[in-house]
């Protein structure tokens, strides 16, 4: 068995993973990565997972060994912020060519390492394995070992070629590389009883910096953050922390568990998304530090800061509550913890109609159940088609998701907000939640949605689903079957009504040219007078989606 497959096996056999623990011996051996369905749309590979987990280390050179595609497509694709070095943003690759595939790429890799050291002199180089060199048998572990000895520099192989599995597995393999080659290799200049590690926090849009001032104030030191705004020396010294907080629930659980086993650092899973979660996490850090010998006054300082910040944040989100009343959210998240975002949204009075639990653990699901009640709509794996259906049927007013679902939402004419890694705003901590609410508010009330939901004003009835739905609304409004769904949607209607209404005469004037007369049909069906026709026209853009449900 090669060391890579042993490592993978080991990653699958994660003791701290409840799901894994419940499996039979045989099932455990098979691993937990679902075999991808050939021909199906899929997400990122193990290489990508490893790269994004380690990329936020800012002062090291990230060298991708492989043909151009792997680095070429992933260069600088995440907004992790750095407080200093920018070397992590430089794109280093061996750019393997045909000749390297034939004769092997090890020498090329070795020379690339040398050139990086000559030119940039970084404290360490992370070398990423990719599919092609892995298949032709380039031994990056050996090259890294040789280069490290030759140049007296840390050269860390990250052995996670794309074909071994999913992005999530790649996260774990990246963690393994840290455990094997980095953590515990240096000693900090000084330690304090207040030192913590944050694991699985990537400082997207600089959101870690919204928490750090608070930790500074309370007197808690982040000894190492893996890996947001991280530096090589910090992670090398991270084994001296007193406690650790796991921020992203699944990505690096192996790192947290093994650090507990090797160095006795206890960890907990927490979140800085949402007001109450942030408070809970801060308290937990304080309590655990005290357990490990920090002075008990730490808790008092924490409580004082929590009380103050909570009051401010609650006051700040108060103004959104009226605007969010009755608004429904569909949550489709990848990395950011669903349960924690759920709590945050509920604090602002939003109703969550569904959340994806694809990457959530069973504890996560329990938490969601607790938060959302028994009718919680947990979606294992939402295909774009289902997502589209759900949005179009107006089970939600807005979707929060990663960028890849953006276009599904938009084509379904649904407000959408990016809450994954490519987002432009920091949502962490007491300040971040207010920012999130601001962004949701903007997304919900953007005038473009009315435009999206309204057909071209000259459009005829047969042409589109909106018009069909409207006809239905009209029938029910004039004595047809009552539509409770429609009634529920009243606020929805009010909002869209502000749109510039189309003069009926204009529609009537241009309708004959289309050969069909939506207005007339509606008038016949309902014996509506010209005046009520006008009224129904005005409602046109208002209730298309709810009516569609009724229509089906």
């Amino acid at each position: 068995m090669t060391s890579l497959s042993a490592t993978i096996q080991d990653a699958f056999n994660e003791a701290a993973c409840a799901k894994n623990a419940n499996k039979s011996e045989a099932a455990r051996k098979k691993g937990c990565t679902k075999q991808l369905q050939p021909g199906g749309v899929a997400g990122g590979c193990a290489f990508d997972g490893a790269k994004i987990a380690l990329q936020p280390f800012t002062d090291v050179a990230h060298l991708v060994h492989g043909p151009i595609a792997c680095e070429g497509n992933s260069w600088d694709n995440r907004g992790s912020a750095s407080s200093g070095p920018d070397l992590w943003r430089r794109s280093f690759t061996t750019d393997m060519h045909e000749i390297d595939v034939v004769f092997g790429g090890e020498k090329r890799l070795y020379k690339a390492i040398k050139e990086i050291i000559d030119k940039y002199d970084p404290p360490a180089i992370f070398v990423y394995q990719t599919c092609v060199p892995a298949m032709i048998g380039d031994d990056i572990n050996a090259v890294c070992k040789f280069a490290a000895a030759r140049f007296g520099r840390s050269v860390i192989p990250v052995n996670s070629p794309g074909f071994v599995g999913s992005k999530n597995l790649g996260n774990k393999l990246a963690g393994e590389a840290l455990l094997e080659y980095v953590i515990g290799t240096q000693e900090p200049d000084r330690t304090t009883p207040y030192d913590i590690n944050l694991i699985g926090e990537y400082n997207l849009s600089g959101e870690l910096w919204q928490i750090k001032p608070l930790l500074d104030e309370i007197g808690i030191r982040i000894l190492s953050c893996i890996s947001g705004d991280g530096k090589y020396r910090e992670v090398a010294c991270s084994h001296r922390a007193r406690v650790a907080m796991m921020v992203c629930s699944k990505a690096m659980i192996n790192v947290a568990r093994k650090m507990r086993e090797r160095y006795g650092i206890p960890f907990f899973e927490g979140s800085f998304y949402g007001i109450q979660d942030t408070s809970e996490a801060l308290r937990k850090i304080a309590l655990m530090l005290i357990e490990r010998g920090a002075p008990p006054q730490l808790l008092e300082r924490t409580e004082a800061a929590v009380a103050r910040e909570e009051a401010k944040a609650f006051a700040a989100i108060e103004r959104f509550k009226t605007r969010f009343a009755g608004k429904k959210v569909l949550l489709v998240t990848g990395g950011v913890k669903s349960w924690s975002v759920v709590a945050a949204l509920q604090e602002a009075g939003l109703e969550i109609v569904g959340t994806s639990v694809k990457k959530s653990t069973s504890e996560d699901k329990e938490r969601i159940q607790k938060l959302m009640g028994h009718d919680a709509h947990m979606i294992e794996d939402l295909t774009p088609r289902e997502m589209y259906k759900m949005l179009k049927e107006a089970k939600a007013d807005i979707m929060l998701s990663g960028g890849k679902s953006q276009f599904v939402a938009l084509k379904a004419a649904m407000p959408w907000l990016d809450i994954n890694q490519e987002r432009c705003h920091a949502y962490m901590g007491y300040v971040g939640i207010v920012k999130l609410m601001e962004e949701i508010d903007k997304a919900l009330y953007n005038p473009i949605w009315d435009q999206l939901r309204t057909p071209a004003p000259w459009d005829n009835a047969e042409g589109n689903w909106q018009a069909k739905a409207l006809a239905q609304v009209h029938v029910s409004a004039t004595g047809g079957a009552p539509s409770s769904v429609g009634a529920e949607k009243a606020p929805h209607a009010k909002r869209t009504r502000s749109r510039k209404t189309v003069e009926l005469s204009i529609i009537e004037d241009c309708v004959p040219a289309h050969g069909s007369t939506a207005v007339d049909t509606m008038a016949q069906d309902t014996n509506a007078s010209a005046a009520s026709k006008r009224a129904s026209e005005n409602k046109m853009p208002a209730q298309p989606v709810s009516a569609l449900q009724a229509a089906e």
């Binding site: 907004g79 849009s205 432009c424 473009i448 502000s498 189309v502 241009c510």
Partner: protein
């Protein structure tokens, strides 16, 4: 020697050299008798205050940095839009040189236009002789099919009568009796270039329709199905008119573009100089009387023209420089209503694409505040589009805007939740705008090239949309009308927004943690 023949520096670099800097400093210190820099600084800061704004807005007589031009500029712009037509401005030649350079600097094309070169004696004795000689010379030298006469202030102040002068000139044989010489009085001390456009266009139409200044019987209207289209004074005329033609053709509408200057401001380089190119044929101009309706894209450019056309029995419709989805919907539906032609699938798809693009990018524009200045219709169209995007057109200023325009703008604001803090400022100038930008700052400024001073002084990033745009090339080739035009405006705005984000995050080691590849 500071300049060096081996390596000649241009003015960007040369005067930064120590010799020049020393020279300039000496001049300042020894000869300029300058104010104390601290005092200058104090006044500079004071000019940013609400107190100064109040004084500024109380200004009655002085106009500082006006955002408008004079009538004859608009007259020349309209006149070159007719087949082989030479604009002839009766008055002093200096004015005419301005119109030519103004238009050429914007369109990067030669502008053919002559004057009657009135001098002091003409001012004393009247300009009749200048008209007689001028028409004769123009006719013989430049071989036009028509000479469209307008006036500068000089001729207007002494009260030269164009109708009588042109008749006399014809009698004296300057041009053949049958040669077309329409005219319009276009004093700069009334209105602005949009008024001049209106007057000149009306003058030409009136000439053809109402019996060529009394020399022929008036035309009888024989209604047909055609539509006349008038663009108005428009810095994007090249792109816009071509886009409008495309839309008409997609819809299968028979049309006449009146004052079609889209070709004369965009002639190909192929070895031939074209003094005249394209344009509305004189026959079409005359036959335009028979059209079913006339559609104007800019109400305030065509008030008199449309009234005249309406009096001849046509339907007339005026828009306010429609930009964006709703405004274009309105335009197309009106065309559809008038002509009975349906709006084709292709245009509906373009509409969907614009809506899609707006949705993709709306988060970046939503809630941003803008200041706009320019011609009244352009301001209205852009403000409408911004409201549609969820942006706030906080200050909308039009030096040549009227009270009626102000009311119309305020009604537009009142119709949108994003318009509640927005104000229209008719008759104000760019110095007023400066005060507005200091006291009530906005995120972006939309205006012509002259806005770059405001951009520099107030730090408000300028999005160049308007006329003139001298310091950026070829924007006039891209339409701002139709759904495609809406897309162009959207991209222009977004480009600036993203450039600003990049600019604010590009300091190495300081702000570049947000200097992201993906926005």
């Amino acid at each position: 020697m500071t300049q060096n023949a081996e390596n000649v520096l241009d003015h960007f670099e040369l005067f930064r050299g120590p010799e020049y800097q020393q020279m300039l400093a000496n001049k300042r210190a020894l000869f300029e008798n300058a104010h104390d820099p601290a005092e200058v600084e104090r006044i500079r800061e004071w000019a940013k205050t609400p107190e100064y704004r109040e004084k500024n807005f109380a200004r009655e007589e002085l106009t500082i940095n006006p955002a408008k031009a004079c009538q004859p500029l608009g007259a020349v712009f309209a006149s070159v839009g007719f087949e082989s037509t030479l604009p002839f401005v009766h008055g002093s030649q200096g004015c005419v040189a301005y119109y030519r350079s103004h238009l050429s600097r914007h369109f990067k094309e030669p502008t053919s236009c002559v004057s009657s070169s009135m001098t002091e004696d003409a001012a004393v004795f009247g300009g009749l002789n200048n008209m007689i000689d001028g028409l004769a010379n123009s006719y013989n030298m430049y071989k036009p099919k028509m000479i469209a006469v307008s006036t500068t202030c000089m001729a207007e102040v002494i009260g030269d009568d164009l109708n009588a002068f042109i008749k006399t000139s014809k009698e004296k044989g300057s041009v053949p009796a049958k040669f077309d010489v329409p005219f319009a009085h276009t004093p700069a001390f009334v209105g602005s270039h949009v008024t001049g456009y209106d007057n000149a266009l009306k003058g030409i139409i009136e000439y053809f329709w109402d019996g060529k200044a009394g020399s022929e019987p008036k035309l009888e209207r024989q209604p047909n199905k055609k539509i006349n289209f008038v663009g108005g004074f428009d810095g994007y005329t090249v792109g816009n008119i071509r886009e409008i033609k495309r839309i008409f053709e997609l819809m299968g509408i028979e049309y006449t573009i009146l004052a079609d200057n889209s070709d004369v401001f965009d002639t190909p380089t192929d070895g031939e100089f074209r003094m005249y190119e394209g344009g509305t044929t004189l026959k079409d101009a005359a036959n335009a009387i028979n059209a079913k309706a006339t559609v104007s894209m800019q109400q305030y450019c065509t008030e008199k023209t449309l009234a005249f056309i309406e009096s001849h029995g046509q339907q007339v419709v005026a828009f306010n420089h429609p930009v964006g989805v709703s405004a274009t919907d309105d335009f197309l539906m009106t065309l559809s209503r008038i002509t009975g032609k349906s709006i084709p699938k292709g245009l509906e798809q373009e509409r969907g694409r614009l809506v899609d693009a707006m949705a993709d990018s709306s988060a970046h524009i939503h809630g941003k505040k803008f200041a706009i200045y320019g011609d009244p219709d352009l301001c209205y169209g852009l403000a409408g589009f911004l409201l549609e995007l969820g942006a706030e057109p906080t200050h909308v200023l039009s030096t040549n805007g009227t009270k009626a325009w102000e009311e119309k703008m305020q009604a537009l604001f009142a119709g949108s939740q994003f318009g509640k803090d927005c104000h229209a400022y008719p008759g104000r100038d760019l110095w007023h705008m400066r005060s507005l930008l200091f006291t009530e700052p906005v995120d972006f400024l939309i205006g012509n090239t002259y806005g770059k001073y405001l951009e520099r002084d107030t730090g408000t990033p300028l999005i160049r949309i308007g006329f003139p745009v001298f310091d950026r090339h070829h924007h006039h080739r891209y339409p701002v009308w139709g759904y495609q035009g809406g897309m162009n405006v959207l991209v222009k705005i977004l480009d600036k927004i993203f450039e600003e984000i990049d600019k604010n995050t590009n300091v190495v080691g300081k702000t570049d943690y947000s200097f992201d590849i993906i926005r």
